[in-house]
Each structure stands twice: as structure tokens, then as C-alpha cells.
Amino acid sequence: MMRLPWIVEPRIGRTGPRALLAPLIAVVTTVVAAVILMSSQGVAPSRAIWQLYVAPLSSLYNLSEVLLKMAPLLIIAQGLAIGFRAKVWNIGAEGQLLLGAIGGSLLPLWFNDSVNPMMLPTMAMCGMLFGMGWAALAAFLRTRFNANEILVTLMLNSIALQLLYYLVSGPLRDPYGFNFPQSALFPQVAMLPSLFGMGRANVSIIVALLATVAAWIFVERSMTGYKLQVGGVAPDAARYAGFREKRAVWLSLCIGGAAAGLAGVFEVAGPLGQLQRVVSPGYGFAAIIVAFLGGLNAIGILFAAFFMAVIYVGGDMAQASAGVPYAVNTSLQGVLLVSYIGARLFVDYRVRWRRDITQQGVN
């Protein structure tokens, strides 16, 4: 068996500034990859950079689009990060988001002529409960039957999508909608108030920022947050201290599910204004990337969500103005996470050539 010519060893004493290195490398790599990908589609490099990273911030309208996309990413990623710290791998935010959108849509569809101001808050609660319930299925199967939550939440994503397709083409379809697979439009009281005069950004970004503060307090200052983290870092120690693993699983999945469900409500009550086949452009998956890119840290996630939203909007604009396929977006998201993980490898570990080590002797 041949040996690799290098060895990988952990770096000891990782310090603050170095923690920022990995996300920075990832962002730079993504920008470079964007230029290469766009060039392959016949777009000049300078134009590509402009389209993807400058144009989204160039006007109030575009900026409001960025905030609109940032809100769900931020909410979901904060919820997921809490679970990820406890090593509970909820990969099902996309499905939980869809269930949230479905749950949030029921009230405005059933009471379509309502003018009750409590409509929006009730919808939000309803959506969170639906998202939480969907995630709770995975929590139940994990704690009761030991079923791997990664696989279960993945499967639940696919099932949630089929459920949505069924509802919008059947029970929840708009009876006056010429058979289009979408629900009736929501009444005005079920729509999120917009934030600026121009653009589509709405109060969801305010809620997302509040969620960030809440997540920060929960993780850094609360006993429960501390217990979750200990359970993730040192399960044996946590067990010895009497922290129950089952509780961590339930808590992690319920928080993540509720957050994703809320994001789902904000999509239907915000830019969409109805339930339709396409509720999310993959926010649930992108939020996983955001959570990692932000170092599972509430403040880091804030910046990561912003950057990811810029990519989304830039990609949309490039598609509209330069005819660049939407797949560029998905590719860049992938590049972002792969390069982040690659960079983390080099930041957390040292790679040394065997030859050099033998020359030095064993140390």
C-alpha cells in the first residue's frame, strides 16, 4: 500500500483572526469561479463581477431584493446552526419550509375575505408549528427508532414537495384560477408590510435580524444553548453531566423546523402572495451553506446570509440581462461551500511533506 507523500496534522492553538481566514478564502474562490463560469457563457470578466457582486448593491431597488432573499436564508440558517452545534444534522429545512408555507397558507385561503389584523401573526404561528411538526417526525424516528436524521429529513424533503404539488393541484387550488396549479391570492391582511417605498423587501428582514439576536443570546448566554453545545462537542462528558441526548435531538430539530417554517410563511405572505408549486429557490439547502460559512456563529451567519443573498440576486439579474443560465447560481453555491470546507482544512490542519519531516527527524 502506498503512502501519501504528505501528512495532515491538526494545528494547535487556533486564534481569532485565523477563524476569519476560511470564509474569506471561500468568498474569493467563489468570485474567481464566478468569473470563470460566466466567461464560459460568453460574458466578459469585468462584466461578470459587476453583474454578480456590484449590481445587486447598486440601487435601492436591487438592495431591497438582496434583503428580501437574505431574510429566509438568515432565519433558517440561525435555526439550523443551533442544531449543527449539537451535531444534529437537519438537512430537511427545505421540506420544513414548504410545510411552513402550506400551514401559513391555510388561514388566508379559508378566510379569504378576512380583514382581521391578527391574520399575519396567526399565520406565522401556524407555519412555525407545521415546520416544527415536519421536523418532529425526524426527531421522533431518531429518538424512538434510532433512525438517522440525515436520511429521514432528506426523504421528508422529497415528500413535502410532493405534498405541495398535490395541494396546489387539488384541495388548495384556486377554483377560479383556470386550472393553474396555484392557490387563490391572499387578502391584504395576510401580506407582509413592505419596508421601503420601493422594492419588494418587507418586514421579514426585521424579524430575521431579531432572530439573529435571539440566536446569539440563546447560544452564548443561555444554559440550554450551552448544554446543546457541550452535547455536540463532548457527548460523553455531556451524558456524565446529566444532559440528555434525546432532548438535544428534539430541541435542535424543533428549533430548526420552526425557523424554516417561519421562512416559508414569509415567502407566501411576501413576494408570492399565494401558494404555488415553486415556493423556494432552494433556500433550505442554501441555508446549510450559510450556516457553515458563518462558522455556526450567529454574527458570522449574518454576513454569510448577506453574501449568499447577493449571489442569488446577482445570478437572477445576470440571467435576466445577459441570458446566463440559472444553474450558475447553484454552481456558485456549491463552489462556496466546497472551497470553505477546503479552506477550513488548511486553516485547522497543517499539511507537511514527509520528506521534510524525515530530514528534521521526529519531533
Binding site: 424516528l141 436520511l151 429521514v152 415528500i159 410532493q162 461551500l337 482544512l345
Partner: protein, 285 residues
Amino acid sequence: MGTTLVFLLSGTLLAATPLLLAAMGELIVERAGILNLSIEGMMALGAVVGFATIMATGSHWLALGNQVATGIAVGILGLGLSGLIGKPYEGMTVAPMKRIPIPVLSEIPIIGPGLFNHSALVYLAPLLAVGLWWMLRSTRIGLIIRAVGESPESAHAIGYSVLMTRFLAVMVGGFMAGLAGAFIATVSATLWSDGMIAGRGWIVVALVVFATWRVDRLVIGAWLFGLATIAELLVQGAGISVPSQLLTSIPYIATIIAISILSMDGRKMRLNAPASLGRTYNSTA
């Protein structure tokens, strides 16, 4: 009735083949201790590359670091790239791979045309499974792979390179997933469309758990899943009024149930699962 049966048999085999191919690759990867969640993207990439060249090409990445996240990331990357590369091919079709009827056997009524009139890969997949079973059980390479998956520390101690073995396993897994994707694009569908893998990659991951990391059960599992896919078409064709979305969900629901039942006996599951599955391993010497 006869034609329905022929369709059922041949359709099951056709649907099961890509699942089996990719799942065998994933089995090797997981036996070496790595949980590779990027099958979906690898299959998508395989589908489009296979389509573009009509030649199976493997795709591979090094899954080190955080395996779960890397898997998802490479998966998303693969899906995105496949969409990008495939854009010019949208809506085009290719001639299907040539069918090779097996002499004598294909003359048997019903079973003959159902089971013995396929393209080469359909026959090759179960043969590969037998080879894989034998390789894991009684060859040196199989032993090394299993050792690395069960106890990377011991494997390292007796001089095997854990990283190298895992790297090669992931390459093989990627190749098989790519092959499966190419099969879907060039043999069963003969066209390429964005999103054509449609969650099969995730089913493959589940299939390996379903088979409790054993090759024989993997073959049976793949055929069962193939049957489920075909049953959906048959039920729809028969005009039975079940929402199509429910039928599409059946493999996913079945997977969840299977995982739950199999995991329930934690002890048995742990005996079968590679002990180091999903754990990162660093050699420091």
C-alpha cells in the same frame, strides 16, 4: 396481461440498474468509513457528461473534512454544473444503447423478453454485484477497505494508508454514480433534462442503509425500488385514481419506514454498519 408482465419485468430491471450501480459505489465508500451524500450531484453530472459524450465518465472528489457538508456541497455543485453543461442539450435525444438479446433465454415467453433483452449494462450490474461481494469478502483489497471502515486506527497501525484507501473508494463511488447517471441519460431516458435524476441519488444513499451494508441485500433492495417505480407507472396506466404525488412519494416513505425498522435494533445495526462511518480520521504519523 402478457405484455403488462413483460413491461413489469423489463421496466423493473431497467429502473433498478442505475440504482444498483450507484449503490454499489456508495457501498464501497461507506464500507471504507465515508458517508458520501453527493451521489445526487454525481449522478446528475454523470448523466450530462454521459449524454454529451455517450460514454460513461466518472466524476470524483475528495471527501475529507466535514463529510456531510462536503457531500451536500459537491451535490449542489454537481447539480448546478450539470445544469450549466447540459443547457445546450436541452430537449435533444440520442439513440438508445443497443439491446443485446441473450440467445435461447430470450426465447422464453414473457420472462425472455422481460429479463433477457436489455443493453449490456443491465446484465453487467448484477455480475458486478457478485464481483463486489466476492471482493469485499475474500480479497486483500476488500479486507483493507473493511479494515479502514471498521477501525482506521488499526488499519493505520499495520501500515495501510487510511486516506489513500478512502480517496480511492470515493473515486470508485464517484465513478459508479457517474455511470449510473449516464445510464439514465443514455439508456433509459435517452434524453437529458435538468433535474432528471429526480432524487434517485438520495434513494441510493438510503438503499445502502436499507441493505445494511450488505451486497446481497443491496441487489434485492434495488430491484424492489425498481419495482416500486414501475408500479407507479402501471397504476397510473390502469386509471386507478390515486394522486400521482402519493405514488411518487412511496419510495421515500418506504425508505423512512425501512430505516426506522432496521435501526430499531440498535445493536444489530451497529454490528453491520462500518464502525467509523462518518467520522473523520487524521493520521498524525
